[in-house]
């Protein structure tokens, strides 16, 4: 292979993709042993999940409210304002809930995971574990990864519920949509399939975001600048990945 080809952006991207894939296999292999220490995973669900609750709830509320305003405006043109509940629920359950939760998760919990692991590397904590014959992938990376995968669908569910509350607040109380129609139409139109689609998306996004965050932290340069760059890469890569996967999954569920 020529030097130019070996250093081309395509080759570098492929090499990075390969490195992430190898890391993923090693990480998944350590998830079983990590389950033997559930306390570590519970701590990480708390760190990634509970600590993101406020931002998720606030965002959910405002997204639901905006959805009601825009939805009402649109549906009014066709004289079907009563379908506002259905429209809001479908949008939140299948798209906005999983996608926005994942984007917020990448910004809030993903960056925190990357910088924490990166700093552990920079302060020799990961090497110290290696020297104590403890695999850092099992003790540090796997619990954080599993914590993220478990926390994401729970956060997306909270987002959707609060979003529906916000939509109802604006649609029913401000715009005057009939409360009975709002809830009953929603109840009859939403299938289990819609819920499954939303949950599947949030689990996949949780997997992708946590993998990216843990990988970037684990392999960040052990310097202040290196950890900062890794944190930025986490947000950028996670966001692009979420939107790309969203398209693939939506197409798959049609």
């Amino acid at each position: 292979m020529s030097a130019a080809l070996a250093d081309s952006p395509w080759t570098r991207s492929l090499r990075k993709l390969g490195a992430v894939a190898v890391f993923m296999v090693r990480l998944l292999a350590q998830c079983g042993p990590a389950l033997a220490r559930p306390r570590l995973i519970v701590n990480q669900i708390y760190n990634a999940g509970s600590r993101s609750l406020v931002i998720i709830m606030l965002s959910g509320l405002f997204v639901g409210m905006v959805l009601a305003l825009q939805g009402f405006e649109l549906l009014q043109r066709f004289g079907s304002e009563e379908a506002l509940g259905t429209a809001a629920a479908l949008a939140l359950l299948k798209e906005l809930g999983p996608v926005i939760t994942a984007l917020l998760f990448a910004g809030r919990a993903g960056t925190s995971l990357t910088s924490e692991i990166g700093l552990m590397g920079a302060t020799d904590q990961l090497t110290a574990m290696e020297m104590m014959a403890v695999d850092p992938l099992r003790y540090v990376a796997a619990p954080r990864f599993l914590g993220g995968v478990i926390a994401m669908p729970l956060l997306a569910a909270v987002f959707s519920v609060i979003g529906l509350f916000g939509a109802q607040l604006i649609g029913v109380h401000l715009m005057g949509v009939d409360r009975g129609s709002f809830w009953s139409q929603m109840q009859s139109a939403i299938d289990l399939k819609d819920v499954v689609e939303g949950v599947t998306k949030s689990v996949v996004f949780g997997f992708a975001c946590s993998l990216v965050a843990v990988y970037e932290g684990y392999y960040s340069e052990p310097t202040a600048a290196g950890v900062g760059l890794a944190t930025t890469r986490t947000v950028v890569a996670s966001s692009v990945l979420i939107l790309l996967l969203d398209y693939v999954l939506t197409a798959g569920f049609l």
């Binding site: 302060t123 020799d124 904590q125 090497t127 110290a128 020297m131 014959a133 403890v134």
Partner: protein, 282 residues
Amino acid sequence: MTGPDKPAPPSVTSAPEVLIDVRDVHYAIDGRAIFDGINLNVRRGRITGIMGPSGTGKTTLLRLMTAQALPDSGKVFAWGQDLATLTSKQVYAVRKRMGMLFQNGALLTDIDVFENVAFPVREHTDLPEALVRTLVLTKLQAVGLRGAAQLMPAELSGGMARRVALARAIVMDPELLIYDEPFVGLDPISRGMIVRLIRQMNQALGITSIVVSHDVLELASIAHDSYLLSGGKVVAAGTPQELNESSLDVVRQFMEGSAEGPVPFHYPAPDYETELLAVEDP
């Protein structure tokens, strides 16, 4: 040779004499040669000092001795096993026989002092909690920090953090203790404490020790064997006193802390005057 205050190395007759054997190791990072055929060994029951100017690869040498890195050529043996041929499981088995004290302590920052010291015990054994507690408190008492068991690492001074790290390094009773720059950044009292602890670990527990440092005086007061690294090679080996009496320029420069000598003070640069005069007018 042993000085008046220096502990006599414990006599060991059964096990092999050499624990770590570095043979003709070459190692480069990004094309820059760090080691160019280095040879040294660490003998059981003794304190081996590894000295050298900053940037000579002392910490890299420790990475090679602990299989964190593998040599480009040459071999590193630990307890007679070639580290390059071991599986990761076998490497972990070798590391269980070692304890390492990092320059900054490398304590886990999200758990307290007690849990830090208990960490290897909990990971590698199923001892009942009462026994873990006794074990941890015994080691913390040995380093004088039993009273700090509930503190978080962020609440410790540099010297205290290093003593906690030492307690953690000895909690599994290793055969070999590796100290990476244990005296850096410490006040004279903490420095004296660490020197005393290294000596005690060797004398009372018979632990073989490797101390990497550029603090000549401290190292000379405890080491039985010393190696001086420079330019990717061992330039002098022997007892600290033999190094002190060496007539080699590089050894003299290092032992006397002189700016003049084979180890240059200035990083390679173009001519000073030419560079100053080459500045363009604004």
